[in-house]
């Protein structure tokens, strides 16, 4: 192994490098137990804070099984207590850390990472100071939908739920009485439950655009469910992991070949599934004008969809809002038209807008209608690398 300047040496002579993969877990018993799969992520974040790699960490503070609030904290204990994956909290952390000038580490699903990178391109986040711990993500669920699903499909009370996991294509809820209730995700989604629509057709399952990608895929044998598989995807990622090892927060070992193969296979299958969903959701349509008009008819101009959009860096005043007047009574919303255009290259399909809309307009589906063809034609994937959004390019072969 060449020891060029980009490697990081330690007392133990372990050298973390971009491109390498490990399986690891927290050395702290309680964190390991509470963790989604071994508490590695939590421990890594805590170590970064303790060793002053960063000044702050973002984590979810759990309220109950379906609710949690993101917090920015500099308290190591608060970080350690946050372990665990919450599949029904479809938050997005990008805007949370925008324009705060933080030296920060944070966990991030694929869409969080993409949002953070897009904010970085717009000067709102300094990516050099941001350590992004990517979480593999097969999808998240909307809390309201989950509650309804529990009652309708599982016939259990949401309050009784104690834990939840996904295994072999099944979504399993554990109730306080220790019983497990499993239904296949296919069946759930067939009935309109399960993952959010945008998650179904999302194809960023392993966030290689983060500094380090963590998940349970690829953890085999006895360790399954008790350890996290990590892939180092940048120098910053190497630093994070090394720091946690040096601080004694985590232990790692090389993954076995079977695990590596399984992980990449699963990734392929999930991406394929995502593409299928995309074709299913975005069927060609006639009379689109009428479709869009109908869907947007109920918009009350609350502006929430703009406020949550993790790729938008405008403040309260923006082109989409300033020239939109309800009194105009146009046949189409000026606000949304401008946004359709502004987001055509930048929409990452995170689903935030649809989640937040008080009148339940399936906004992500609408916005992707415009974004899909533009991003395909321009071969542009927002949030995946530092390429400038084409709309702001000075010259482009189009």
């Amino acid at each position: 192994m060449s020891q060029d300047s980009q490697t990081i040496k330690t007392a133990h002579q372990i050298v973390m490098q971009k491109g390498e993969m490990y399986v690891g877990w927290s050395t702290k018993e309680d964190v390991r137990k509470r963790g989604g799969s071994g508490g590695l992520v939590t421990s890594m974040l805590a170590a970064a804070l303790e060793k002053k790699l960063v000044d702050a960490v973002v984590v979810l503070k759990k309220m109950n099984e379906f609710e949690a609030v993101p917090i920015i904290t500099s308290d190591v204990n608060e970080v350690l207590n946050s372990a665990g994956s919450l599949h029904s909290v479809p938050s997005n952390f990008a805007k949370l850390i925008a324009n705060r000038n933080l030296k920060v580490a944070l966990p991030a699903k694929g869409c969080d990472v993409r949002g953070i990178i897009e904010q970085g391109k717009r000067n709102a986040i300094n990516l050099d100071n941001t350590f992004i711990v990517g979480l593999n993500c097969g999808g998240s669920m909307h809390p309201v939908v989950t509650r309804e699903m529990l009652e309708v499909m599982y016939k259990i009370k949401p309050e009784d739920v104690h834990g939840e996991e996904i295994e072999k294509g099944k979504l399993i809820f554990e109730t306080k009485d220790g019983k497990e209730h499993a239904i296949t995700i296919d069946e759930l989604e067939e009935k309109g439950y399960g993952r959010r629509e945008s998650c179904r057709y999302c194809t960023i399952k392993i966030p290689n655009n983060a500094d380090i990608a963590c998940g349970n895929w690829g953890v085999t044998g006895d360790l399954a469910g008790k350890a996290t598989f990590v892939e180092i995807t940048s120098e910053k990622g190497a630093k994070l992991l090394q720091n946690a090892i040096d601080a004694g927060y985590i232990q790692v070992q090389k993954p076995d070949e079977k695990g590596v193969a399984a992980r990449s296979k699963i990734k392929g299958v999930m991406e394929g599934l995502g593409k299928k969903w995309k074709d299913k959701v975005f069927v060609p349509m006639d009379n689109r004008l009428e479709y869009f008009r109908k869907e947007l008819e109920n918009c009350i101009d609350c502006g929430a969809c703009k406020a949550v959009c993790p790729t938008c860096s405008c403040g309260d005043v923006s082109k989409c809002t300033e020239f939109h007047f309800r009194g105009d009574a146009y046949r189409m919303s000026m606000y949304h038209l401008v946004r359709f255009l502004h987001l055509a290259d930048s929409c990452i399909g995170c689903g935030q807008c649809a989640d937040v809309c008080p009148v339940d307009i399936p906004l992500t589906r609408l916005y992707r209608r415009f974004a899909n063809p533009v991003q395909e034609q321009l071969k542009y994937e927002p949030g995946m690398d530092m390429r400038k959004p084409p709309f702001f390019e000075a010259k482009l072969e189009v």
Partner: protein
């Protein structure tokens, strides 16, 4: 940091609360009046809110028409004026001045085109034309109400000039400016000033000895105490704007102390290295240390480190101890008010395409090579010989338009090739009357004084002119003569000719350095790849960048007299700024509202003039660094405004709400549909 171009409403702007619009509909004789029902139009416009008076005139631009506007401004206390007439492109300045005289801000004028865009193009649809005129004026009225006062801003001008390129054009510009008393920095990338002209033997149309007329000029440049020559130097960075350009110049090391070197060339006598000499178009050689040419200015040696073998022989030979092998590049920072670009050109290179056998056959050469052979100071002492056997050719063929007027290379005419070919044939014919010359041409172009006469002189001397382009050029493997197959399109017959030497009149093309200069000065290029002027007819030496001017072939093919005139023209244009010590910059610019700007920075790469900068420090307590438009650099195109997602950027006079006022008023509700 924002300077106050858009002044608050002061009394002179008469921008008190209520918008009082006057609309002046012009009949333009019958040009408009003959099609558009101007009375009906005025009547309708009079009903629009805010319109205090309407008026129809036969010729609004006439004295009486303008007086009508001025009277009505006074009478009705108007603060916005709409003129519906011809094109703002020709008449806007007239009416701006007209209302300004009445104390209104000149940007309170809205000009509506109901002639070129209406009456003239709907001559047989009078009703529709009338309706359209109503729409157009309504759009104008609504926009007028939203117009804001603007003032062009003034920037101070440093009274020094930079001239880049010391060919004949750049030298002329430098001399004229220096003679008017301004300090000039003349930057030349070669070791000597003089440019192309220093290489020619004689120049058309009078066939004067080129260096005999150029040499004294070069000396004059050197002696002028207002000119600082920076030879063997290049511009590395340009920052700032009209009146205040900061320029970084790099002085390449000559590896000798120019204050000690006397130009005696003892060093080159002893230098053992010989390399082909590009000044002679590769004919003959020079040493690794050499004086460029006998008339060089400055007359100093230069050591070419690439070929130097470090034998140190020259250091020993140099009696003044000038040589310094460890010399490093030097840098000078200049602050100048204006920049003149006179960076010249190169000739088309026929080698890659092997045009007419060039590069394949020894005895096919370019005109530039021929010029050096003709030159008494050239590699052969003025004897034209052919490369294969160094014999003096008898039968010489010339092919015109090589790399010019040709779809496969360059479509434009290089302008000088006909004339220099005529000159070259003449010169050799005069030297050696036994020679036989055939010029193969497409058209002979001899537009200026003495040119046609020179052409006639060649004919009288016996130079043959054959209209046709060679279709085949081959070398005789034994004699190395060049065999040409060409259709004489006047006689309508195929001719097979044999020449001892074939000379290609290669055209004018941009040199490799043009892109760098273009980027440094933020200029644009024309289709021919050379730099572009502000207007091909009316502003031929200005550029779109205020304070930057172009002279000579750098902005298109031209001959020496034309290049020299442009040098003088640049000096004259530049003097307007240098003498007034101030420049007026565009009143219409982009403006950032820092309260709205998100600091996203997407506007920066939109501006071709790099007029937008991010602030160094965050704005107030927002923690966000905001964008800022440098007014003196902004040309007011508005491209950045389109990109800005927040609307923080606005283009004055074309603000979103001003444009939208027009958009909205294209249409109207129709109460009853017939």
């Amino acid at each position: 940091m924002s300077d106050s171009t858009e002044s608050k409403s002061t009394d002179i702007n008469k921008d008190s609360g209520e918008k009082r619009v006057g609309v002046f509909v012009c009949e333009c004789g019958v040009n408009i009046g003959g099609v558009v029902n101007t009375k009906a139009v005025a009547e309708y416009i009079g009903t629009l809110p805010g319109v205090k008076v309407t008026s129809v005139n036969k010729f609004t631009c006439s004295d009486s028409g303008q007086a009508d506007i001025q009277n009505k401004i006074k009478e009705h206390n108007l603060n916005r004026v709409v003129v519906a007439a011809c094109s703002p492109k020709t008449h806007e300045p007239t009416f701006r001045a007209c209302i300004e005289q009445m104390g209104l801000n000149q940007y309170f004028l809205e000009f509506v085109n109901i002639r070129d865009h209406c009456s003239w193009i709907h001559m047989w649809e009078k009703e529709k034309a009338t309706e359209k005129a109503k729409d157009l004026i309504r759009m104008g009225v609504e926009r007028a109400k939203l117009l804001e006062p603007l003032q062009a801003s003034e920037v101070p001008v440093t009274d020094k000039a930079l001239v880049v390129g010391a060919g004949v054009a750049g030298m002329q510009a430098a001399l004229d400016l220096a003679d008017m008393g301004f300090q000039v920095y003349l930057v030349e990338k070669e070791p000597s000033i003089g440019g192309r002209m220093a290489r020619f033997d004689k120049v058309f149309p009078t066939n004067d000895c080129s260096i005999c007329i150029l040499g004294p000029k070069m000396v004059e440049v050197a002696r002028n105490k207002n000119i600082k020559i920076m030879s063997y130097s290049e511009v590395k960075a340009v920052d700032g704007y009209v009146g205040n350009f900061n320029v970084k110049v790099e002085h390449k090391p000559r590896y000798l102390d120019v204050t000690k070197c006397t130009g005696c060339a003892k060093c080159s006598e002893v230098c053992p290295v010989e390399v082909p000499y590009d000044f002679n178009e590769g004919f003959g050689t020079r040493k690794a240390i050499y004086v460029p040419f006998p008339q060089a200015v400055p007359l100093r040696a230069v050591l070419d480190k690439e070929n130097c073998i470090s034998c140190k022989a020259c250091a020993k030979a140099c009696q003044s101890g000038a040589i310094n092998y460890d010399m490093q590049p030097g840098f000078t920072d200049l602050n100048v008010g204006v920049i003149i670009g006179a960076v010249g050109f190169k000739t088309y290179d026929p080698e890659p395409r092997h045009d007419f056998g060039y590069g394949l056959y020894d005895n096919v050469i370019t005109a530039m090579e021929f010029e050096r052979l003709l030159n008494a100071a050239g590699p052969t002492g003025g004897h034209v010989v052919r490369p294969s056997d160094c014999k003096e050719p008898i039968r010489v063929g010339f092919v015109n338009c090589v790399g010019s007027r040709d779809k496969a290379t360059n479509i434009y005419c290089s302008g000088v090739c006909c004339m220099y070919t005529i000159k070259n044939a003449q010169l050799l014919k005069e030297k050696r009357p036994e020679t036989d010359h055939t010029i193969m041409y497409m058209d002979i172009r001899t537009p200026f004084r003495g040119y046609e006469e020179s052409y006639n002189r060649s004919r009288n001397l016996g130079v043959k002119f054959l209209r046709g382009r060679p279709s085949e050029v081959k070398e005789d493997p034994v004699t190395k003569n060049i065999k040409v197959r060409v259709e004489d399109t006047l006689a309508n017959e195929i001719r097979n000719l044999e020449f001892d030497l074939l000379v290609l009149a290669t055209g004018i093309v941009p040199h490799e350095g043009i892109n760098q200069i273009q980027q440094l000065l933020k200029l644009s290029k024309a289709a021919d790849g050379l730099l572009m002027e502000a207007h091909p007819k009316l502003r031929p030496v200005d550029t779109t960048i205020d304070g930057v001017f172009l002279a000579g072939v750098a902005s298109g093919p031209k001959d020496i007299p034309y290049a020299v005139s442009q040098g003088s023209a640049c000096a004259s244009r530049a003097t307007i700024l240098l003498k007034n010590k101030k420049a007026i910059t565009e009143g219409i610019t982009a403006v950032v509202n820092p309260d709205v700007c998100a600091g996203c920075g997407v506007c920066l790469p939109m501006c071709p003039f790099q007029a937008i900068k991010m602030d160094e420090t965050p704005y107030l307590n927002t923690g966000i660094k905001k964008a800022n438009v440098v007014k003196a650099l902004c040309k007011g195109c508005g491209t950045c405004v389109t990109a800005c997602p927040t609307g923080a950027l606005e283009q004055s006079h074309f603000k979103n709400e001003q444009v939208l006022a027009q958009v909205k008023n294209v249409f109207k509700f129709q109460e009853v549909v017939a």
